[in-house]
Amino acid sequence: MSDESRSVPPGPRPRPWYLSAGLALLAVALVLGGAWVYARVQSPFPFYGTAYTPPIPAPAFRGTDQDGRPWTFTPGATGRATAIFFGFTHCPNICPLTLAYIERVRQALSEEERQKLDVVLVSVDPERDTPERLKAYVEYFGKAQGIRIPEPALSEVARSYGAGYQKVDLKGPQDYQVNHTTAIYLVDAGGKLRVLWDYTQLPAVERVKRDLTYVLENPRL
């Protein structure tokens, strides 16, 4: 051992391996920590859904509800949070699932929390979706409001939320499908868009509920 140490050429003492390893670990920790801090500053709550950073004011809109009454959504004026999604009552797949899973999340909330949340289905098929049809649909799969907005206002509202839809498979004036985007937008009691979930995320009821509870408790006023 002592022979070997004598064979090292003179010069600055080599840095011990554990110091190098420590420095390397420190560097990695700093980079990861920095990324974590940055992410937290961008969105202090680790949302399961896609967060709006920063939250943006939700667009207002109006239409007719499932009872045929005029209905107006004025973000920030309801005192409650609002979950909005775009669908239609001839939708046999995505929309029933969306409504059913939102209902599961709603049921997972406390009674007090449930009172602070509205669920709104905006029809992307105002031609066929009468208030009666909407009422039957939203009450069958959960508890929501079914809002009909005539064109061209509907396309404006959809665009303002980033939603899209398109009539396809036209077999007749009353026989067609509507392709549509599948996000659920959560507007807080302060009227800000906070988070959106794709319908495929909804089966994770507990995680969606966590996002929802946070937004209910922390509206941006």
Partner: protein, 163 residues
């Protein structure tokens, strides 16, 4: 760059891989047990989680899903299905367009891979019952008959369930 060796390897692989695949499937025992699992047909399919989505009485179409497991060594190609309650029964899949809009499209066939599964569910491949002749009751069991490309059938009893 010289692609010679690469092309050679690919050519060799294209010859050897199908051979080895055939060899491995031939070496396994034929799935005799499958025929006892499914009644009345020779199709080596096992069905689970069959259900028809309950919809409000105002609705005129609904979807059905199930998991089909193929115990056999050959893919099983479904080309149609039948039901008594709908005017049109179609095999469908879901797709996203470039703008992120989701919609259904009719497909000519759906394949249950050899020794694999085909999952039929609302957000993916599924069965569509269109032009419902009567409202469906939650809990009732509908008979769906799956039809394969070579004309064999498999009868599935599927309960009507809310999602």
């Amino acid at each position: 760059m010289n692609f010679g060796p690469l092309l050679g390897a690919l050519a060799l692989a294209s010859v050897l891989l199908p051979v080895s695949a055939t060899a491995s499937s031939a070496s396994r025992p034929a799935p005799q047990t499958a025929q006892t699992t499914v009644s009345a047909v020779r199709l080596p399919l096992v069905v689970r989680e069959a259900r028809v989505m309950a919809v409000p009485p105002t609705a005129t179409e609904t979807s059905a899903g199930m998991v089909l497991r193929n115990l056999g060594s050959k893919p099983i190609v479904l080309t149609a299905f039948r039901s008594d309650v709908a005017a049109r029964n179609e095999l469908m899949t879901m797709h996203h367009d470039a703008q992120g809009r989701m919609g259904m499209v009719t497909v000519k066939s759906l394949t249950v891979p050899a020794r694999g599964e085909l999952v039929l569910k609302p957000g993916g491949d599924h069965l569509m019952l269109m032009g419902l002749k009567r409202p469906l009751r939650v809990g009732e069991r509908l008979t769906l008959t799956l039809v394969t490309a070579d004309g064999q059938t498999l009868t599935v009893r599927a309960p009507v369930q809310k999602p």
